[in-house]
C-alpha cells in the first residue's frame, strides 16, 4: 500500500520534473545571459536615453562594413547593386568578408571532419575509443597556443618547410593569408564536425541497413538510403556550428592572417575597448542576426528532414585490415590512409610544435626549465599571482560542475524544441543565442549584469566568483548538448514514446527510459563539448573571477605569455594532458553505446 503511494508520489514528481527543469533553465538563461547581454545590446538603439535607429541606419549604409550591399540599404535599386556584386571589383565589406571566410572554413572543416567520423564510427582498431575521446582536444586550446603551433609548423622556417626542403621540394609560404586562417579554423572545427557526426553514425541502426540489403539494395544504395539520411543532420549540425563560430572568430584571424583579413568581431572588440558602445552593440546585433539566421535555417531543415529511427543496434565495425584484396575493400582504406597523413600534418604537427616549444630553451637546446618554472611558480608565487595547480583544479571543478548543469539544461531544451508547436522557431532562436552572440558583448554584459548587479529596493544584488563562473560556462556549453541530442530525438519514432505514455509512464520517465538511451552517443558527445567549452572559456572566467583563487588553465596560459614562449607553452601542454585525460574519462563514464 505504502509502496504504491510512494510510487504515485514519485510519478507526480516525475510528471512535474520536466516543467521544473524547463523553468529553471529559463531562469538561468535570463539571469546569466539574456539580461546581461541585453544591457549591452540595448545601447545600439538607446543613445543618451532616447530611442533611435540612427546608429543602425548609418552602419547598414556603410560600404566599409557591407560593401556593395550598403548601397541597397542606402536606397539604390537592387538591380544596380546586383550588377555591382557581379563585378570582379566588388567590395564585400567587413561583414561580407567575414561570412565568406566562415563559409570557406565550414567547407574545410566538413571536408576534414567527415573522414575522421567515418574512421571512428565504422572501423575497429586498437585505441579507437581513446582517439575518439581525444578528437575534441583542439577545441580547448587557447588561440595564442594554436598560433604558436601554426607558426612553428607552417611558418617560413617551420617544420613543414624544413621537411619540404629536406625532400628537395619547393617551400611554401602559407602564413598570414586567408588559407592559413581557414586551416586554423578547420583545426578547431573539423574535430567538432567529426565528433558530432561520429555520434550520429554510431546511432544508425544496423537492422535498417540489413533490411535494405535483404531487400536487394547494394551497399552503396543502402548507404545513401539508410545511413546517409541519419548522418546528414549531424554533418549539418557540425557545419552550422562551424559557420557560427568562424563567423564570430577573432584573435586567430589577426594572429595568422593579419589586419587585412579583419573580421566583424575585431571591430566589435576595438569599439568596446574604446567605449564606443552604440556602434559596438549595433555591429554585434548584425553579427547575431546573421549567425542566428544560419542556425535557424539549419534547424528548419533539420526539422523537415528528420528520419524516423527506432533504437540502435550499431553497425558492426570493420577491421582496418582489408578482409579481401578487392577494390571495394581496399579503396576506402587507402583513402583513409591518405587522410591520416593530412590529418597528422594539420592536427598533430601544430600540437607537436607546441610541445616542442615547451621543452626548448632560449639557446635552442632541449630543456625542462619551463616546467621547472611552473613548479617554482607553484611554490613561490605570491598569493595574488596565478599558480598552476589552483588553475588546474579550478578548470576541472568548473568544467565538471558546468557539464552537470549543461546536461539537464540541454536535454530539456532539446526535448522542448523537437516538439511541434507554434513559436517553436522563437524558442529555438532563444535557446541557441548563446552560440551566436559576440563573446566580447557577453563579457561586458556579465560585468554589468552580474558583477555590478542590479539595484532592488536599496540593495544591490550581484553575483560573481566560482558559482557565477560555473553557471556562465554551463550557459555557454548547453547549446552543444541541445545540438548533439536534438537531432536524435527528432528522429525517434513517435510511436515508441506514445506507447510508453499509453502504458502510464510519465513524460520525464519516457525521456529517461526510452529517449535518452536511444540517443546516448549524442548525450555523451554533448557532455564532452560542454566540458570542453568550459575548459577553454576565457572571457567570462576573467570577468567573473573574484581573485587569483578562481583562475583557470587558459588564464594561467595567458598570464605566462611573455617574450619567451616556454612558460606559456608548458602550461599549454599541461592543459592538453589534463583535458585529454578528462575526455577519455567522460567517454568511459558515458559507456561505449547504449540502446535497446
Amino acid at each position: 500500500m505504502s509502496n504504491r503511494r510512494a510510487s504515485s508520489l514519485r510519478d507526480r514528481i516525475e510528471g512535474r520534473l520536466l516543467t521544473a527543469l524547463a523553468v529553471l533553465t529559463s531562469v538561468v538563461l535570463v539571469v546569466a545571459f539574456y539580461y546581461p547581454v541585453g544591457t549591452v545590446l540595448i545601447e545600439a538603439v538607446v543613445v543618451d536615453g532616447a530611442a533611435t535607429l540612427a546608429v543602425f541606419a548609418e552602419l547598414l549604409r556603410d560600404p566599409f562594413y557591407f560593401g556593395e550591399l550598403a548601397r541597397l540599404f542606402a536606397g539604390e535599386s537592387p538591380l544596380a547593386v546586383a550588377r555591382a556584386l557581379l563585378d570582379p571589383d566588388r567590395r564585400l565589406g567587413i561583414v561580407g568578408f567575414t561570412a565568406y571566410q566562415a563559409a570557406l572554413s565550414t567547407v574545410a572543416s566538413v571536408a576534414l571532419g567527415l573522414p575522421a567520423a567515418y574512421l571512428l564510427a565504422r572501423f575497429e582498431f586498437p585505441g579507437r575509443r581513446t582517439l575518439r575521446s581525444l578528437t575534441i582536444v583542439p577545441f580547448v586550446l587557447p588561440s595564442i597556443m594554436v598560433a604558436v603551433g601554426f607558426v612553428a609548423t607552417f611558418g617560413t622556417n617551420g617544420t613543414l618547410n624544413s621537411l619540404l626542403s629536406a625532400l628537395g621540394l619547393p617551400t611554401v609560404d602559407l602564413l598570414f593569408s586567408l588559407p592559413a586562417i581557414v586551416v586554423a579554423h578547420a583545426f578547431y572545427n573539423a574535430p567538432l564536425v567529426a565528433r558530432v557526426t561520429t555520434a550520429a553514425w554510431e546511432s544508425v541502426d544496423a537492422r535498417a541497413v540489413e533490411t535494405a540489403r535483404s531487400l536487394g539494395a547494394g551497399p552503396i544504395r543502402a548507404f545513401y538510403d539508410v545511413v546517409a539520411p541519419q548522418v546528414y543532420p549531424a554533418v549539418l549540425t557540425g557545419a552550422a556550428l562551424t559557420f557560427v563560430f568562424t563567423f564570430g572568430t577573432f584573435p586567430i584571424v589577426l594572429a595568422l592572417g593579419g589586419f587585412e583579413l579583419a573580421t566583424v568581431e575585431v571591430f566589435v572588440y576595438r569599439l568596446v575597448r574604446d567605449l564606443r558602445y552604440a556602434e559596438a552593440a549595433a555591429l554585434a546585433i548584425v553579427e547575431l542576426v546573421i549567425s542566428l539566421g544560419v542556425l535557424l535555417a539549419y534547424l528548419r531543415y533539420e526539422a523537415k528532414n528528420a528520419v524516423s529511427a527506432r533504437g540502435a543496434r550499431p553497425l558492426p565495425r570493420k577491421s582496418l585490415l582489408p578482409s579481401a584484396p578487392t577494390a571495394r575493400e581496399l579503396l576506402p582504406r587507402v583513402g583513409l590512409a591518405a587522410y591520416v597523413v593530412v590529418a597528422a600534418t594539420l592536427f598533430l604537427a601544430p600540437i607537436a610544435s607546441m610541445v616542442l616549444a615547451s621543452v626548448t630553451g632560449g639557446d635552442g637546446a632541449l630543456t625542462l626549465e619551463h616546467y621547472r618554472f611552473l613548479l617554482e611558480r607553484q611554490q613561490t608565487g605570491a598569493a595574488f599571482q596565478v599558480r598552476p595547480w589552483p588553475a588546474i583544479r579550478n578548470s576541472l571543478a568548473f568544467a565538471s560542475a558546468a557539464t552537470l548543469i549543461a546536461l539537464p539544461m540541454g536535454v530539456v531544451v532539446a526535448v522542448l524544441t523537437t516538439r511541434r508547436y507554434r513559436g517553436r522557431t522563437l524558442v529555438d532562436a532563444a535557446a541557441m543565442a548563446p552560440l551566436a552572440v559576440s563573446g566580447i558583448v557577453v563579457g561586458l554584459g556579465l560585468l554589468r549584469g552580474l558583477v555590478f548587479g542590479v539595484e532592488v529596493a536599496g540593495w544591490r544584488i550581484a553575483a560573481s566568483g566560482a558559482v557565477a563562473i560555473v553557471v556562465a560556462h554551463a550557459v555557454a556549453g548547453y547549446p552543444f548538448v541541445v545540438r548533439t541530442v536534438a537531432p536524435g530525438l527528432e528522429g525517434l519514432d513517435r510511436s515508441l514514446i506514445e506507447s510508453a505514455r499509453a502504458l502510464g509512464a510519465s513524460r520525464a520517465r519516457v525521456i529517461r527510459d526510452v529517449e535518452l538511451p536511444l540517443v546516448w552517443p549524442g548525450v555523451v558527445a554533448g557532455a564532452a563539448f560542454a566540458f570542453a567549452i568550459s575548459v577553454g572559456e576565457f572571457t567570462a572566467t576573467v570577468v567573473l573571477a573574484t581573485g587569483a583563487d578562481a583562475y583557470t588553465m587558459p588564464v594561467a596560459i595567458e598570464r605566462f605569455i611573455g617574450r619567451r614562449l616556454g612558460p606559456a607553452t608548458a602550461m599549454g601542454v599541461v592543459l592538453l594532458v589534463v583535458t585529454g585525460l578528462s575526455f577519455v574519462v567522460i567517454d568511459r563514464l558515458g559507456g561505449e553505446s547504449r540502446g535497446l
Binding site: V148, F384, V467, R564
Partner: protein, 426 residues
C-alpha cells in the same frame, strides 16, 4: 508494423531491467541537478546595501567585490571598515604589473610598502583594466579601489570622454613630484603622476637584416615584408607605432575632418600624411597582426626580421641568455614613441591620504629604480637609483616623442578609424 514490435520491446520489463542500472544513475543525476541549480543560483549572489560604504553590508563569502581583487575572500573581512585596525590600500593596476612570467614589481612593492607603513596593500587587477573602473563609475557602482597604477595619456582621454563626473581626484601633495621629468607630465588637469615610461621602437634580428634608420627606409625594396606590427585598435604597441607615424607625417586633417587645422608632421610635407605612408608600407608588405604576443611570436620564429616592440628588449634577451645580436633596437629617425605610465587617486577612494602616501613612496629614488628594473621600463624621476649598466641594455631614444592629452583628445579614435578603413578595405 515494425513500429509495434519496437514499442513493445521498449515497454518490456525484462529488456529494461537489463539496463536499469545505467538508467537509474541517469535519473539520479537528473533529480539532484534540479536542486543543485537552485542552490547554486542562491550561493553565487551577494546583496549589498547601496548608498554609504563602510557598513557591514557585504554578505555571502567568496562573492563580494568581484573586482578581481587578489586577496582571498574572507581573509580581510571587516578590516576596511574599522578605524582602529590596519587600513587597507586597494591598488588597481594591470596584471603584468603584479604577475608576469619574468619579473614584475608587484610583490616587491607590496612587501616594501607594508614594511614601512602600517597598512595592508591589496592589488586589484580586473581584466578590463581601467575600463572596468570607468564602467563601474558609469553604472553608478562604488569604485572599490583607492588608486590606479598604470594610466596612459589615452586612458585619461577615454575617461574624460566617457564620464561626466570625475573618476580621479586631483593629485594633492605628493613628495618627490618635483623630481618627475617635465617631458613626462601628461595630464593637463594634474591628476596623474607619472611613475615610469617605456619607448616603442623597432626590434630586429641583426643576423638577418640591418634595420633602416628612418621611416622612409622601411619603404625600400630590401625591407619588403620585413616588418611585423600590431593592430592599433587592439594593441598598445601597435597604437603607439601608428601614433608615431602620425607624429612623423601628420594626419592630413583626418581628425578635424577637413575643417580646422590638420596635425602637421615632422617631415614638413603638408601633402603627405600618415595614410599615404601606410599605403606605401602596406604595398611594401608590412604585416599587421593582432596582439603584441602574436607579433613577437611570429618575429621570434623568423617570419620577418623586424617587429614593433619596446626598447628594453635586450634586458629580457640577456636575462634569458639569448644572443643580443638577434635583439637589436632601432629608433626610427632617432625617435622613440614614449608611453609614460601614471598613477592617480580615485575620486571616491576610502583611503585618499594613504593613496598619496603610496604615490610619494613610488617616487622615492630607490623605489623608482626598483620599479624600472622590475617593470623593465625607465624611471619617471631624475633621481632614481639604477645600476650603472642598466642603460647598456635598456635603451632610450635621442628624441622621445609623444602626443599630449590635448592632441589626442577628439583625434585618436578618428585616426585609428581612418587607418582601419584604409588598411582593411575589403
Amino acid at each position: 508494423m515494425t513500429n509495434a514490435t519496437d514499442a513493445t520491446r521498449a515497454a518490456d520489463p525484462s529488456a529494461r531491467r537489463a539496463e536499469s542500472g545505467s538508467k537509474r544513475s541517469t535519473r539520479r543525476r537528473f533529480l539532484s541537478l534540479g536542486g543543485t541549480a537552485g542552490a547554486l543560483a542562491l550561493a553565487g549572489c551577494s546583496a549589498e546595501r547601496t548608498g554609504d560604504d563602510g557598513g557591514d553590508g557585504s554578505a555571502a563569502d567568496g562573492s563580494g567585490g568581484a573586482d578581481g581583487s587578489n586577496e582571498s575572500a574572507g581573509a580581510d573581512d571587516g578590516s576596511d571598515g574599522g578605524d582602529e585596525e590596519t587600513p587597507t590600500l586597494t591598488v588597481a593596476t594591470y596584471t603584468n604589473f603584479i604577475d608576469a612570467p619574468s619579473v614584475s614589481p608587484g610583490e616587491w612593492l607590496k612587501d616594501e610598502f607594508e614594511s614601512r607603513v602600517d597598512a595592508e596593500l591589496e592589488w586589484a587587477t580586473p581584466d578590463n583594466e581601467l575600463n572596468y573602473y570607468i564602467e563601474r563609475a558609469a553604472s553608478g557602482v562604488a569604485v572599490d579601489a583607492d588608486l590606479y597604477v598604470g594610466l596612459t595619456t589615452e586612458d585619461l582621454v577615454r575617461v574624460d570622454d566617457r564620464l561626466d563626473g570625475d573618476l580621479f581626484a586631483e593629485r594633492g601633495d605628493v613628495d618627490g613630484f618635483d623630481d618627475v621629468r617635465d617631458g613626462l607630465l601628461f595630464d593637463p588637469f594634474d591628476r596623474a603622476v607619472p611613475f615610469d615610461t617605456g619607448y616603442v621602437s623597432l626590434v630586429y634580428d641583426g643576423t638577418a637584416a640591418e634595420a633602416p634608420e628612418t621611416f622612409e627606409g622601411l619603404l625600400a625594396d630590401e625591407h619588403a615584408g620585413a616588418l611585423i606590427a600590431q593592430n592599433p585598435g587592439g594593441s598598445s604597441t601597435g597604437r603607439s607605432f601608428l601614433l608615431h607615424t602620425i607624429h612623423r607625417f601628420g594626419d592630413g586633417g583626418v581628425a578635424s575632418d577637413g575643417e580646422g587645422e590638420a596635425v602637421a608632421g615632422g617631415d614638413g610635407d603638408p601633402d603627405y600624411d600618415y595614410l599615404d605612408y601606410w599605403a606605401e608600407l602596406q604595398a611594401n608588405d608590412v604585416r599587421v597582426l593582432g596582439s603584441w604576443e602574436d607579433a613577437y611570436t611570429a618575429w621570434s620564429n623568423g617570419e620577418a626580421p623586424m617587429v614593433v616592440s619596446y626598447s628594453t628588449d635586450q634586458v629580457f634577451a640577456a636575462d634569458a641568455g639569448e644572443d643580443l645580436e638577434r635583439h637589436q633596437i632601432r629608433f626610427l629617425n632617432d625617435q622613440g614613441y614614449a608611453n609614460p605610465e601614471g598613477m592617480a587617486v580615485f575620486a571616491d577612494a576610502d583611503e585618499p591620504e594613504l593613496a598619496r602616501e603610496f604615490m610619494s613612496f613610488v617616487l622615492e629614488p630607490e623605489v623608482q629604480g626598483e620599479i624600472a628594473q622590475r617593470n623593465v621600463a625607465f624611471p619617471a624621476t631624475d633621481t632614481a637609483t639604477l645600476p650603472d649598466d642598466y642603460a647598456e641594455l635598456a635603451q632610450e631614444p635621442a628624441e622621445p616623442v609623444t602626443f599630449t592629452y590635448d592632441e589626442l583628445r577628439g583625434s585618436v579614435s578618428e585616426w585609428v578609424d581612418a587607418w582601419e578603413r584604409q588598411y582593411a578595405g575589403n
